[in-house]
Symmetry: C2
Subunit: 797 residues, 2 copies
């Protein structure tokens, strides 16, 4: 380690420095205690094997650094009366964040059985990473956290999401040098090009270079310092370095650096808010270089541990069986001088507590980290203002997402003062036809402006960046701190955030079980430019599997909607935007498509989630009582179009066949009642699909998803599903459905193949259908367009 760069004159008095050091030692002691001890928490007797947990789990390496940051943030918050939140990127250092929460009292306030005394300390220790206890990572259970300490990469984008529209909030963000190697984190630095110093809060990144990952040095820690500084300046930041391994010197340097950083942030914000600075500030970044596993065992079994990757998890692993390890652990714990830090009842001493802020200023108590406390209902305009009129079904065309754009613009307008609604997306808001938003707001942009620019503004509340990771992370941070939003994306590219949505769903699933965590607004996806409409892009842009991905996760948190037209999209979005603690995935087209339902019908249909479209079938005409001969089911806009066209063909050519058309909007309705809160009972399901009649189901995505949802239903064996089966290229929309056997003609053939006893007219019709498909192939190769009878088709009922 190079020497600490001691500031010109110490910023801390000896008393202050001693108090900060005491707090830091206390936190370190508590972190080690959590990893190792199940008894004797205050070391009131010599350490014995039976005091040690049988399974040693947890991550020590990052903990002393996190404890240092927390200690110094406490001081700064207290001195400056800050509203602050901290995102702990190395959230696997759960012992550190838990230790600090216990020290500041928020842990005991949240979990009254874990008192701030010896008994509570014993519980704090034992519960850690213990079956039935608390996870070893920072998780929803940890007061003050909005960030799961699992998969790395998302701390900085979460921090920015939290800071947006929170002008008084400071969001500190500790970024480990391991995490800094991930793509999402590397991209997140540029979030500062989207942060308005006037209307948003500040983000203070603290890059913690402790040098090692699980088994390797880190890239950034081994850069020459000038190269690292170039990098951080290139990211738009001015670096402030704190380097060292001598605690008191590091305390002075850290306090000085933090003061400098906060002063600069204050200056930048004041200048911007007084209109004196049109430039994007060069925000500070702290670079904290301290040893991995600092203050832990230097050498174990002859190998260096402190300041190497060997301190990543549990530095001493054989404590129960190896007396030398046990001795080293006791020495390590006693090196913090616990008797100076805790009184005989286990309460932290006044010195330890002297640097702590109070009330909601404590990092574990900020309401921003329990966003539901701050959440207000969204003002959603009456849908009537945006619905499309449907005088005649299947004749007028609208772009569903454009209609939705009007509604979103209304919400954006009505939140102009509250500023608690944002729309994020990777450069596609206009492409996705949501550009009505630009009538009331703009795209956030803090970069250079040119005369030709349109719809950019420093205070815009549409966020566009060509990174789905940033969009997702910003929105998660925004929602978790009590606001609302929508993520619009091309359907195929939603997979980019598969892993992020996993973690958010897991967060919500756990948070819902914690009574003190208040419900937050749902994470709403609008997936468009979907698999069936990739004329410009082709095969590489075709993937409807995001739905499959989320439907693997906890049912209580996940909803998937496939509204078939503009008005159903409105009704669905309205529902999603009002919901709480969910992930709602809405798949809808942006291309002109037919209107099927009036707003009232759409509302009723969406409320049911799935229902018979009587007007589209022939059940009544053929026989009112016997039920259908066949069910044509559909989910998704393109499958609905093809099913309706198929239903029309059947009505014309086989009028004696009783066809029922069922449309499904809410995919979870198909699931068993016991497995999803929206699942239909078998009685409901059979009433809709019949228990025994053939069902030809045209589905938007991979067909086997339907099978996995309905395999327990009585009618499953009779259900034949058509969907996307990875066939595609750059071609017309109709050619796409033909290539995947989802087209109207194929569906008619499917019906004929499945309904017994149809007779000779059906045989002829089947052949005619096959002939049209053959004709299609020849026509499209020649003309590059669809058959006129397809291109000009409208519903004639």
């Amino acid at each position: 380690m190079p020497d600490v760069r001691i500031p010109a004159s110490p910023v801390l008095t000896d008393t202050e420095a001693a108090a900060l050091d005491a707090h830091w030692r206390a936190a370190n002691y508590l972190a080690v205690g959590q990893i190792y001890l199940m008894a004797n928490p205050l070391l009131t007797e010599p350490l014995r094997p039976e005091h040690i947990k049988p399974r040693l789990l947890g991550h020590w390496g990052t903990s002393p650094g996190l404890n240092l940051v927390h200690t110094h943030l406490n001081r700064a918050i207290r001195d400056r009366d800050l509203d602050a939140l901290c995102v702990w990127g190395p959230g696997h250092g759960g012992p550190a964040v838990l230790a600090n929460s216990w020290l500041e009292g928020t842990y005991s306030e949240t979990y009254p059985d874990v008192t701030r005394d010896a008994d509570g300390m014993a519980r704090l220790f034992k519960q850690f990473s213990f079956p039935g206890g608390v996870p070893s990572h920072v998780a929803p259970e940890v007061p003050g956290s909005i960030h799961e300490g699992g998969e790395l990469g998302y701390s900085l984008t979460h921090a920015y999401g939290a800071a947006l529209d929170n002008p008084r909030l400071l969001v500190a963000c500790v970024i480990g040098d391991g995490e800094a190697e991930t793509g999402p984190l590397a991209a997140s630095w540029h979030s500062n090009k989207f942060l308005d110093p006037v209307r948003d809060g500040a983000v203070l990144p603290i890059l913690h270079l402790n040098g090692y990952k699980i088994g390797n040095p880190t890239v950034l820690s081994r850069l020459p310092e000038d190269e690292l500084d170039d990098l951080l300046r290139g990211y738009g930041h001015e670096p402030l370095h704190v380097t060292g391994d001598e605690p008191l010197a590091v305390h002075q340097a850290m306090a000085a650096a933090l003061d400098t950083a906060l002063d600069r942030i204050d200056t930048f914000q004041r200048q911007a808010r007084e209109g004196r600075s049109p430039e994007r500030p060069r925000w500070p970044v702290l670079v904290l270089r301290t040893p991995k596993g600092w203050t832990g065992p230097a050498v174990v079994d002859g190998l260096p541990v402190e300041n190497t990757w060997r301190s990543h998890q549990v530095p001493l692993t054989q404590v129960r069986d190896n007396p030398e390890h046990l001795r080293q652990l006791e020495q390590w714990l006693r090196s913090y001088r616990p008797e100076e830090l805790f009184d005989p009842t286990g309460r932290p001493t006044a010195q330890v507590l002297s640097c702590l802020p109070e009330g909601e200023h404590r990092l574990g108590a900020t309401p921003h980290a329990n966003g539901g406390l701050l959440l207000r209902d969204l003002p959603i305009p009456p849908l009537e203002e945006h619905a499309v009129p449907v005088d005649k079904r299947g004749n007028a065309l609208h772009e569903p997402t454009r209609v939705l754009g009007g509604l979103l613009a209304g919400i954006m307008r009505d939140t102009a003062r509250r500023r608690d609604f944002r729309v994020v997306g990777p450069d596609e808001t206009a492409s996705n036809r949501l550009d009505a938003l630009y009538e009331v707001t703009a795209k956030a942009w803090q970069g250079e402006y040119l005369d030709t620019d349109e719809n950019l503004a420093r205070d815009g509340r549409v966020m566009e960046v060509l990174s789905e990771h940033l969009c997702q992370g910003w929105l998660e941070g925004y929602l978790l701190t009590g606001r609302h939003g929508l993520f619009s994306s091309y359907e195929a590219f939603a997979h980019i955030v598969d892993s992020m949505v996993n973690q958010h769903i897991k967060w919500l699933r756990t948070a819902r079980r914690l009574p003190w965590r208040r419900p937050i607004a749902s994470l709403n996806y609008l997936l468009t430019s979907h698999v069936w409409r990739q004329d410009h892009n082709g095969f590489s842009h075709q993937d409807p599997g995001f739905v499959d991905h989320v439907l693997n996760k906890s049912p209580e948190v996940v909803r998937v909607y496939l509204p078939p037209d503009a008005n159903t999209l409105l009704a669905t979005a309205d529902h999603a935007l009002r919901s709480r603690d969910l992930v709602n995935v809405i798949v809808a087209g942006k291309q002109p498509s037919f209107d099927w339902l009036t707003l009232d019908e759409a509302r009723a249909h969406c409320a049911r989630g799935a229902g018979v479209w009587q007007w589209a079938g022939t059940e009544e005409a053929v026989d009112g009582d016997d039920g259908p001969d066949v069910v044509l089911a559909c989910a998704g806009d393109v499958p609905t179009l093809e099913v309706l066209a198929a239903a029309e063909l059947l009505r014309h050519h086989l009028p004696e066949l009783a066809v029922r058309v069922v449309n499904v909007v809410d995919m979870a309705r198909l699931m068993p009642h016991g497995e999803h809160p929206h699942g239909m009972t078998d009685f409901e399901y059979d009433a809709l699909f019949t228990p025994d009649k053939p069902v030809v189901f045209a589905y938007h995505g991979y067909p086997w998803l339907i099978h996995r949802l309905i395999y327990r239903r009585a009618g499953h064996a009779q259900t034949h599903v058509r969907g996307y089966k990875e066939e595609g290229t750059t071609t017309t929309p109709f050619d796409m459905v033909v290539r995947n056997d989802l087209d109207r003609y194929r569906l008619v053939m499917d019906v004929i193949d499945r309904v017994p006893g149809l007779g000779v007219r059906a045989v002829a019709l089947r052949q005619a259908m096959a002939d049209v498909r053959t004709r299609h192939h020849a026509w499209i190769r020649e003309h590059g367009t669809d058959l006129p009878e397809v291109a000009d088709w409208t519903w004639t009922g």
Copy 2:
């Protein structure tokens, strides 16, 4: 646009500059022609609406920049006799890369019907983005490409993968400023910390700042230039700028910059290879700033188009219907002076062709872009050298991935001179127990070295970086250029690359249908630290859904294996490493687990993919002929353990019950024979699972995956699947299976619940099983460990 920085003295003679400009104009002409024309390719007559395609699709905006780069790479390759490959990050600019391929003749050599004359030009134009034609993006169909032009973010990591172990290869990589905003790209810059100037080739990034994405300015294009330079220097590069919109000046600047860059690369490599430079070089990066849609229509319908986002796709959209658009298109096309570029028969003139390299030096003809041409079989040591002895089943414990590590080390040893095998992973190779590799190689590392470092070397062939995106991209680039490799990852985090593997699978699926593309080595995943073993990490690290994700994709490309022990893992890996053109996902544990099969048995079992483990069941003992009363099926190491323990309980307590144990290694065996090449026929399936007996299936992942694979099988309705259902926390392995109802006791209860007529002893056994589960819950809360009878269990047969 600021002025071009003209070099001190022009590097190109007037003749050279004119020739490059002619080639560039020709490529631009051909790019526009592909987007618009279906007839009159040489403009031999005035342009009429019927010459225009009915659907105008494609991306113009990036094309002139790509054409410029290709033109200048041609010159440099020819002048310097380079082996070069180019990765086209803005691969949506398909028209540009296709145009260049046609000009250099590789397109006609690959597709003889598209001749390099007027007829061929007409075909080139019409086929583009036309049904039955070619995709609008750079795709496998494009000669010289290894990079799909679909989802953005992966160009630079692909480029590095291609350069590894190819010391004579120059890999140019065009990075669009849109793509540069993505996380994976942002992280990819640091790949230079892993590139050995001695044994690897060079990567020359060309950052193309044309200023706009689909609808927005780009972040990097709006940075102050000093900030951008800081960023690129921070990435370890020395920037060389080429800026302008006046073609001849840009040609001079581009030629000068490219010469400078290539000279520097040459110097760095020479110094390193002569042992004169232990430092990581500061590799050059070209920053090319030219207008988006350069040379296209400046203004359309009164709005600026060139040099704005409006030129992203099709600048003139109404050409068939709007005479002014038609006039502008003709003017635009004629602005390239096609009569100077093509002779009357449509062949490019000598001037246009004068800058082209020859033979395999042409970018479209490099064998590195058709890696199968260069691929050699991997030397895989005899498995006998690494297999574990199994004298008694289920008694000895091995860490399966550690056993695999020995095999991988053998391969690594035997490829030491060939250098065509790499293992990539995010900082987890040792954690995943593959550290035998370090006996024969090391981790690639070009950063600073410290005394405490272990297993790092400049020429190491294990690649570790805390970015799954980089691991995946490096490996894809490596495989696509004809080498072999394996990606080891924690199971849950494989989802990080969901979207990347989609694109790779789509690439393979398409490439397999192109006879000229030779098979490449498969992309092999080892997923470990799996869902059932997350003691250190807990809920956030639990997700077995990567398998579900890949099984949605084209069956001919995808294989999923769940070897239940060390020897089956060896046999599976051996098979995967020999395979071609596949994505193999192998899920296997790293924790000590029981050995079940000898190597010979493992080979036979893996060859079958699924089979009866007769020694584990009681079928023979009870009755040799009648078949089983119940089938206990399992897939995955932990489910196999629980099934065997359940089978043992049944054997002891209900010896009269005929139990069959079936283990599935190859998940595709479950799929219908017609849907996957490995799928069992119904006859085979029924012989294994019975058509009518209860099946209790313990599966590693989400249980509904099994249902979606087997829903057409006769026995499906009788099949009850247990698996992971999103229940978990930091706890013991056995508690995990209990929480998810996959434990041995629950499986016994499931059997009792499903087999009719078992009688009173079964009722008692069921109660006893429930009692053990209750006892487990109490015990673990108290002790933090598993019940002794579980912890000490071994198979007694």
